[in-house]
């Protein structure tokens, strides 16, 4: 097998994270949760930190993570600078917004308007005490082995706060819900936060969620290790957009597991702009007939950022359909990796799976690794995957230049066009505009001075 997720010998450095887990409070937790956390911690300790000998971590430089000892938040929350969040707030979500600062829920910045009967959107620790019968059966259960890596276990052991959503059958939420994880680390020690999300979408329920990770630029080092779990019941529909704008000296490790039941549909967008090291591990299991998922990714990186997207889609049931489009734009010495696997299980006849990864290299110092993989155990399928790596087309640049556009503007326009294919599919208007602004901003911030290469290809 190519993908060996678990190292055989535990590495001692893995234990460094123990200090970042506030295990003192475990005594107050309900026994089932305490057990869950203890066994997760045990697994995490056994697995240790991944090494580059493991296939799925081969291109991940973990030094930003291992060079520091991370500690949990101590003391009170810092005050946010005025207008710090302004640009990141989606006006569409003014009625439904949950804001977390340094991993803690901040009710004063959040608002949850009246919900349809039976629907729950609340902070996770509160949900655990108020609705244990809804949380316990789902939390950390029914997750595929590919999602359960050492950082998933670390989060399970360490999380304190998070989001819990429960939509009863046939509940349709028209307004998008915004969840923000803001980090403003002013303490000297590197901070570790462990956001957790559990979302249960009932039969024929519909919802749109945006998740914003925002690291304020003056923040000290931090680790953001999040785990999101989605359960989509029959015919449920989900749109989920992730915007990652962590600060340049952060490590962002996100792991998401989605279970899709019959006829359900998930459209997911992940956009990556920040972080020194960022890794998204997205694992979708199409468990019921005719489930459909579309994953879209956009990474715009500069400086020495490294962004890693790992996806796995398991076609377990027949008639399911999956689409993936991942695009990266790399400037300066940035690095990106796309490691996507489609697995068609034996019984999954009439599956359709498409996967495409496209990379735009804007600098000779940038690097890309792409591995679009197919594992097919059924003959009645239609699968395709593709990858391209290239640069901006000289002819197109010339065309724009000949019409009087400056070179810088031409490049930005073409690059925006490249990113546009993803951005324009996003169903929240204000997020589209914000993303376009972020792409231009990111390009302007890149050190690479783009000049038309003369006489060469």
């Amino acid at each position: 097998m190519v993908m060996e997720m678990r190292s055989r010998t535990p590495s001692s450095t893995g234990l460094a994270f123990e200090s970042s887990i506030a295990s003192a409070g475990w005594a107050q937790l309900p026994p089932w949760l305490k057990d869950l956390k203890e066994s997760a911690l045990q697994r995490h300790q056994q697995l240790g930190l991944p090494t580059r000998r493991q296939e799925s971590w081969r291109f991940v430089d973990l030094s930003p993570l291992t060079d520091r000892a991370y500690a949990p938040l101590s003391g009170s929350l810092p005050t946010l600078p005025p207008q710090a969040l302004e640009a990141f707030l989606h006006p569409e979500s003014n009625e439904f917004r949950l804001v977390f600062l340094n991993g803690r829920y901040v009710p004063t910045l959040s608002s949850v308007a009246s919900l349809p009967p039976g629907a729950i959107i609340t902070e996770l620790s509160q949900a655990i005490s108020e609705y244990p019968e809804l949380v316990q059966p789902y939390l950390d259960t029914e997750i595929g082995p590919e999602s359960m890596d050492t950082f998933h276990d670390l989060n399970t052991a360490a999380f304190e706060h998070g989001v819990f959503m429960y939509l009863p059958d046939n509940t349709v939420l028209e307004t998008p819900i915004q969840i923000m994880f803001v980090i403003h680390n002013l303490q000297e020690a590197p901070l570790a936060v462990y956001p957790r999300g559990l979302f249960i979408i009932g039969q024929s329920a519909q919802v749109t969620v945006t998740t914003t990770y925002l690291g304020l630029p003056e923040s000290e080092h931090y680790l953001n290790n999040s785990v999101f779990q989605w359960i989509l019941k029959e015919n449920a529909q989900l749109n989920w957009m992730i915007l990652q704008t962590e600060s340049p000296n952060s490590v962002h490790l996100a792991s998401t597991a989605l279970n899709l039941a019959q006829d359900s549909q998930a459209n997911i967008f992940t956009t990556t702009f920040g972080g020194q090291l960022s890794r998204q591990n997205l694992h979708v299991r199409l468990l019921g007939d005719n489930a459909h998922c579309a994953l879209n990714g956009l990474s715009v990186l500069n400086g020495t950022s490294q962004g890693h997207d790992r996806t796995q889609i398991d076609h377990v049931s027949p008639h399911c359909c999956s689409e993936q489009l991942y695009k990266s734009i790399l400037a300066d010495q940035s690095r990106s990796e796309f490691d996507g696997t489609i697995v068609i299980h034996r019984g999954a006849a009439l599956s359709q799976a498409d996967q495409l990864n496209r990379t735009l290299l804007l600098s000779d110092e940038a690097k890309v690794h792409t591995r679009p993989q197919l594992r097919i155990d059924n003959d009645d399928v239609k699968c395709s995957h593709g990858a391209t790596v290239g640069q901006l087309n000289e002819d197109e640049l010339f065309y724009l230049a000949s019409r009087g556009l400056s070179e810088q503007l031409s490049r930005t326009l073409l690059t925006l066009g490249f990113a546009g294919e993803i951005i324009e599919k996003i169903p929240v208007q204000s997020m589209q505009q914000h993303l376009r602004a972020l792409v231009s901003q990111q390009l302007n911030a890149s050190e690479t001075k783009q000049t038309l290469k003369t006489g060469g290809s």
Binding site: V2, D364, A366, D377, V381, S384, H385
Partner: protein, 481 residues
């Protein structure tokens, strides 16, 4: 259907064993074994030194497990590392003196060792390797007149040691991988070819590998050097008798293309694949093949048709070092019954404006597993590098597996890399269309498969293309119900 079934159920055609007296060294691998092999071949000191270094390195290595294949642990002490037909006291000077039993064996395999012209009128030079030694090489003298050296590896070691020493291990060092290290330590024979400057080789060269002795492994080594502005086309074929035990075939092939040289290497691999029902026996084909486009404007092209072996594990690769050099890989890999294949290529772009093309067609039937694994790596220096990859899989039946594991690493912004892959099956509609026009299912499948593989077969030299088409048809019979 009855006649078809009888063809389908026919046994592996090349499964016979030649009754010939063989000289076999005891099983097991120690320093002594290596000294013995080296002494048997009267090798110069540098060879023994190379073997010993490889052996000591191999002992430190761990057998790799990353391929998508499953097999029981191999006991490396339970293999015969050297088996050769008993040599006459005097080495045969020409073909008349070669043991007639051996000539008959190769005749039966359809390989004529007599220097007659083939039906097509174009002669082909053959180096016939039987177990651990080369038994005959045809057209040697004719080729030498043009300055082309084509002989067995052992002969080259004795007669052209300077060439061997210079190039041996220059493309696949003994440290490269577990099986290459093992091969470097114990390889017994193989083919050697040197094409001097400004020479276009007048005929196709070929090596035919035959494993005969039960329990023996075949570890051959091929080295082809094509000097400036020269060109050669090389073919390789292989078969083995049917035994219940698995046999290891760990070969190394090294190609060196100097300035503006062109090497075309074609393989039709049809080792015994093991029992179709139980999977018992068959060859483990763990081969390291690599070509180096050392000079500018050089060109290496690999074409392979993999139909046999219980397990195939090979990645014919190109190191594109010279500017404007070009690498190509065309592959058809067919697995049926319980066969497993993990095959593909590596294209390493180092020089400027280098280009590579990968066309891979995988066909899985029965309960087999077929994986494409390929790497395209564009280094920082490879300004203007270009790659196009297409790998298609076809599945026949619901119990087989088709996997694609491409690795693309790009470090140069002017590079253009494209990868495309698709997976499909033969649809009922397609078959219906054929049947409507009076063409039976088997024939229809064969026509569809041949169309699927056309891009690769086109690259094979004439007779090989015919052979490959026929072979594919035979291998797939009765796999569509």
């Amino acid at each position: 259907m009855s006649s078809l079934e009888s063809i389908a159920n026919q046994e592996y055609r090349y499964g016979f064993k030649t009754a010939i007296e063989s000289e076999i060294i005891p099983k097991g691998l120690t320093e002594e074994t290596i000294r013995l092999i080296s002494a048997k071949k009267n090798e110069p000191a540098f060879m023994l030194d190379f073997r010993m270094k490889a052996f000591h390195h191999w002992k430190k290595m761990i057998e790799p497990k990353w391929a998508h294949v499953h097999y029981p642990e191999i006991d490396y002490q339970d293999i015969i590392y050297y088996a050769a037909p008993k040599a006459p006291k005097v080495k045969p000077k020409d073909l008349e003196e070669v043991d007639p039993e051996l000539l008959r064996t190769f005749d039966k395999l359809g390989i004529s060792l007599s220097e007659q012209k083939r039906l097509t009128g174009v002669p082909m030079a053959v180096d016939a390797v039987f177990d651990s030694v080369s038994v005959a090489t045809t057209f040697k003298k004719d080729l030498l007149k043009k300055g082309i050296i084509f002989c067995s590896f052992s002969e080259a070691v004795l007669e052209y040691p300077e060439l061997v020493e210079k190039y041996l291990g220059s493309v696949v060092p003994y440290t490269d991988n577990f099986f290459a290290a093992l091969n470097s330590a114990v390889f017994s024979d193989g083919s050697f070819c040197y094409v001097p400057k400004n020479t276009i080789c007048p005929m196709d060269l070929s090596t035919y590998f035959r494993i005969n002795t039960e329990g023996s492994g075949q570890f051959e080594r091929t080295l082809i050097i094509c000097d400036d502005y020269s060109k050669v086309s090389y073919l390789e074929g292989c078969t083995a008798p049917m035994f219940d035990t698995n046999q290891l075939h760990a070969a190394v092939v090294e190609l060196v293309a100097l300035e503006s040289a062109e090497i075309k290497y074609s393989t039709v691999q049809n080792w015994y694949a093991g029992d179709p029902k139980t999977g018992k026996g068959g060859i483990y084909n763990f081969v390291t093949k690599r070509g180096k486009c050392q000079g500018n404007n050089s060109h290496i092209s690999w074409t392979q048709v993999e139909t046999g072996s219980a397990i195939t594990w090979k990645y014919p690769s190109c190191i594109l070092q010279g500017d404007n050099s070009k690498g190509e890989f065309y592959s058809v890999a067919l697995t049926n019954h319980l066969q497993q294949a993990d095959t593909g290529t590596k294209m390493i772009h180092i020089g400027k404006n280098t280009s590579s093309t990968i066309i891979s067609k995988g066909i899985s039937a029965g309960k087999s597993a077929n994986s494409y694994r390929g790497q395209v790596s564009v280094k920082k220096s490879a300004q203007g590098a270009r790659n196009y990859t297409q790998c298609d899989s076809m599945l026949i039946g619901g119990q087989c597996e088709a996997n694609t594991f491409p690795y693309i690493d790009v470090q140069n912004s002017s590079a253009k890399v494209e990868h495309e892959a698709s997976t499909s099956k033969i649809s009922e509609e397609q078959l219906f269309y054929f049947r409507q026009r009076g063409i039976g299912t088997e024939e229809a499948v064969s026509a569809i498969i041949n169309g699927f593989c056309k891009d690769v077969f086109r690259e094979l030299p004439g007779e090989f293309a015919v052979e490959a088409t026929r072979l594919l048809g035979l291998k797939l019979e009765n796999s569509v119900g």
